[in-house]
């Protein structure tokens, strides 16, 4: 078991993530053999060949787009006010992977981001901290040093992010680099070209190989698998890619890189939440979900939490199992938090920029 402070550690009183009692073992603690055994149990045969994977993935129930959009829209009409809103705002902060993924990133920028994560609301010790900061691989050392012992995780994007268009060895080397530098979490991208052309086994093998690299560290780095749903074109593909990533050993499935439009949407996230819910029912393994990109307001974030609550269930209302990949979201949540505390809106000058 990882120690309890490793993921989602925070000062908040809203949740006490426990990777033992409520959720059973964390998916990252499975060995490669266990992952393969779970996959075989799901498919119903040990045949994880391309044909076997295709039979399974294409045999999944379809997703009706109109119905899925309608369900998401209806979840979005929930009215979350007063005490529920305060609770949801704090939970949101604790679930944020505070992100900077720019070519122009500098060590100074990353240190500033970490400072923001360590002290999101100067002068308010009750404000929870984000779960992690998310940076490019070459910034892991900088982030790691700046974080110190604050318990915030370092997540690194890897595998030739964001396109993934590189050979496997390059992608693995990229990952190894980040893990060696001390990344607690790896956000990898799938080969969307391979997925769309039906080469499911290629995508599967990539994920398995990256997972092995993650497990080369003393404490295995948690693996988030980015599906880049904006490039998958259909909701059926989102469901298939979700299952493929889970079968291959993803600890989290993540919507987007943030570099492709559309990034995270509520319907896509609902479909992924259905997938992790069903995967838990089949295997007993609880996989996390991370929508990323395009979630900028507290209001949007709360819609996602409502979806988590009503589609996947309470067990996912935990930074170990749900994250937001976002940069500007944190400040909007902080503004809303101030509004609830003081009864008046402040303004952008009253939250710090990172």
């Amino acid at each position: 078991m990882p120690d309890a402070t490793r993921l989602g550690a925070m000062t908040s009183t809203v949740t006490t993530p426990s990777s033992e009692s409520a959720h059973g073992p964390h998916p990252a603690d499975r060995t490669g053999a266990q992952v393969a055994a779970d996959a075989a149990a799901v498919i119903g045969t040990a045949d994880l060949s391309e044909a076997g994977l295709r039979r399974f993935l294409q045999g999944l129930p379809g997703v009706d787009r109109v119905g899925a959009d309608g369900r998401a829209a209806q979840l979005g009409t929930r009215s979350i006010k007063t005490s529920a809103k305060a609770w949801a705002l704090d939970l949101t902060i604790s679930m944020i992977d505070l992100t900077t993924l720019e070519g122009a990133d500098t060590a100074g920028k990353v240190r500033s981001l970490v400072a923001k994560a360590r002290t999101p609301e100067p002068g308010d010790a009750t404000c929870p901290r984000p779960a992690a900061v998310c940076v490019y691989g070459d910034m892991v050392t900088v982030a790691r040093d700046a974080i110190g012992t604050s318990g915030i995780n370092v997540a690194a994007v890897a595998t030739a992010f964001p396109s993934g268009r590189a050979g496997r060895e390059v992608r693995l080397a990229d990952t190894r680099d980040a893990v060696a530098a001390g990344a607690d979490e790896i956000d990898m991208v799938i080969d969307r070209g391979a997925f769309l052309s039906g080469h499911y086994r290629k995508v599967y093998d990539d994920i398995v190989a990256v997972r092995e690299v993650c497990h080369e560290a003393d404490r295995p780095a948690h693996l988030k698998v980015i599906l880049e749903t904006g490039e998958l074109a259909t909701y059926d593909n989102v469901r298939r890619a979700s299952w493929l990533a889970m079968l291959a050993g993803a600890d989290f499935i993540k919507t987007s890189t943030g570099k492709v439009s559309p990034a995270a949407t509520l319907p896509v996230t609902v479909i992924m939440l259905e997938a992790v819910r069903d995967f838990l029912a089949t295997t007993g393994v609880q996989i996390g979900v991370k929508p990323a990109g395009g979630i900028r307001t507290a209001k949007d974030a709360i819609k996602y939490l409502v979806a988590v609550n009503e589609v996947a269930g309470e067990a996912w209302l935990d930074p170990d199992y749900f994250r937001f990949g976002a940069s500007s979201l944190l400040n909007d949540v902080l503004l809303q938090r101030q509004k609830l505390a003081t009864g008046a809106y402040s303004g952008p000058d009253y939250v710090t920029i990172d």
Binding site: V14, T15, A22, P61, G62, V63, D64, V66, G67, A68, G70, R71, T77, R78, S79, I80, K81, T82, S83, A84, K85, W87, A88, L91, I271, E274, L305, V306, N309, E310, E314, A315, L317, D318
Partner: protein
């Protein structure tokens, strides 16, 4: 483990003023009833009394029909369609502008959740007026011959399940085609019709074009029986519909009857399963199942039956039952004690006949009329709960093996209002829709209403169509080249 407790989010009832008593709306004025009789309308979620509402007797109905006749002959009938359209557009706009007021009042009087009144009832009602406003000046080109004529005075009797929406379904096409109206709202839900009367005055609709007479069954019977009524439109139970059809047999009156249903919602093993679950929920728990076209019989293919029922139960666990004014409520109150008694009675019969009952685990309020979402499995086609319209949040689950068996079971009912088909296979949707004897067939959705789409039944679910171009036919006498 954390719990996401949604704090109460009540809609404010301050947006609507409810008078302590209401008269009848005749010839553009609120007037006392001749007898002075009245009935109380209550909030079914709390049993608090909302208002006293006048009861119209035969003499009041006579006054209303005379006013309607005058208005039809002198003002509304001769008025060019383009002018009638202006009034209808104005009504539609006012409905949209005052939507919150109407939504809140509908919730208080009916017990339905504010989410549905706000997102479905009121906007769909406004859309109906917008839609038929567009037809008013195009009737010569609508396929009913040259210069089709209105019947004259339409006597309309509407139910309590969608008080404002059914009013819109009735009044909008009648007015667009040049008819005038005497409308009788349901005994338990008269308030939005009376607020609508206020809106008509705001819209400066000429007096007598729409008259609203409140009361119970006797008032409705008086409207139907009045010799000055040319056209009867009724939405309600099949029993009353049959009485009306007998009553007007041999008279010159035309009728549109929209009656009960016992719709089959058919789920094939290749259905989009998560959306099908939503469709099943929306099919039977929308408006507490008090919907004539509710998908009250779930027909599910045996190969996925167990999985579907399991997922359905899990989903029902997340439905929020309670205060209809709370914006997060999914299932509100049953409209009346009488309806609750009927639902209770039929579910008891279901258990006695051997079906397996499952009821969602939810706390129900002490006051008011409530029934928790309920699912019956192991239901056979012979059980009362598979044959009789329950009109409540009660789903009967039956299974089938082949498409032919699904068709046979779906059609094995005296009703024929609606049906649903869930499959990812387009060709199967088409072949099933051809074979189902139902006026409305939804594919991969359920309980969708749009003013452009005709709605109505086969068999004992009634005749005539409402909505769409078809809805005009019910209010027109076809023109001919004389």
């Amino acid at each position: 483990m954390p719990r996401f407790e949604y704090a109460p989010a009540p809609e404010s009832r301050a947006v609507v003023d409810i008078a302590s008593s209401y008269g009848l709306f005749i010839d553009g004025e609120f007037v006392e009833s001749a007898s002075g009789g009245s009935l109380k309308t209550i909030n079914p979620a709390t049993e608090e009394s909302l208002a006293d509402v006048a009861v119209a007797d035969e003499s009041d109905v006579d006054r209303a029909v005379r006013a309607a006749r005058r208005a039809q002959e002198k003002v509304w009938g001769p008025m060019p369609g383009a002018e009638r359209a202006k009034y209808l557009f104005r009504i539609a706009r006012l409905l949209a502008e005052r939507s919150r007021e109407f939504a809140v009042l509908e919730v208080l009087d009916n017990g339905k959740p504010i989410r549905e009144a706000r997102d479905v009832d009121v906007p769909t009602a406004a859309a109906h007026f917008f839609y038929y406003a567009g037809w008013a000046d195009k009737l010569d080109h609508a396929g009913f011959g040259p210069s089709p004529r209105p019947h004259g005075v339409a006597g309309q009797v509407i139910p309590w399940n969608f008080p404002l929406l059914m009013l819109a379904w009735k009044i909008a096409p009648a007015l667009a085609t040049g008819n005038t109206v005497v409308l009788k709202p349901a005994e338990t839900t008269p308030l939005t019709a009376l607020l609508f009367a206020d809106l008509l005055r705001q819209a400066e609709l000429p007096p007598g074009v729409v008259n609203i007479v409140t009361g119970a069954g006797a008032t409705g019977a008086a409207v139907v029986a009045h010799p000055g009524v040319d056209k009867v439109a009724f939405t309600g139970s099949t029993a009353v519909g049959k009485r009306i059809a007998k009553e007007i047999a041999g008279t010159r009156k035309h009728a549109t009857l929209e009656l009960g249903g016992k719709a089959a919602n058919i789920v094939f093993d290749d259905a989009p399963i998560d959306q099908a679950i939503e469709g099943i929920v929306n099919g039977i728990f929308f408006n507490q199942g008090q919907v004539c076209c509710a998908g009250s019989r779930l027909l599910v293919q045996e190969s996925v039956a167990e999985e579907v029922v399991e997922r359905l139960k899990a989903r029902l666990g997340t439905l929020r039952v309670g205060d209809p004014m709370d914006k997060n409520t999914d299932v509100g109150a049953i409209n009346s004690a009488a309806q609750l008694a009927r639902i209770t009675d039929l579910t008891k019969a279901g258990e006695e006949e051997g079906a397996v009952r499952w009821t969602a685990d939810c706390a129900l309020p002490e006051q008011g009329f409530w029934f928790a979402p309920t699912v019956f499995t192991d239901v056979s086609a012979a059980h009362r709960i598979a044959r009789e319209e329950i009109f409540g949040p009660v789903l009967s689950v039956l299974t089938f093996r082949t498409p032919a068996e699904a068709v046979a079971k779906a059609n094995n009912t005296p009703y024929g209002l609606s049906a649903g088909i869930w499959t990812e296979k387009g060709s199967r949707i088409l072949s099933m829709a051809d074979k189902l004897r139902a006026g409305v067939v939804w594919a991969n959705t359920f309980n969708r209403f749009d003013p452009t789409s005709p709605f109505g039944g086969y068999k004992e679910s009634g005749y005539g169509r409402e909505g769409g171009r078809h809805g005009l036919a019910s209010y027109l006498i076809e023109g001919s080249t004389r």
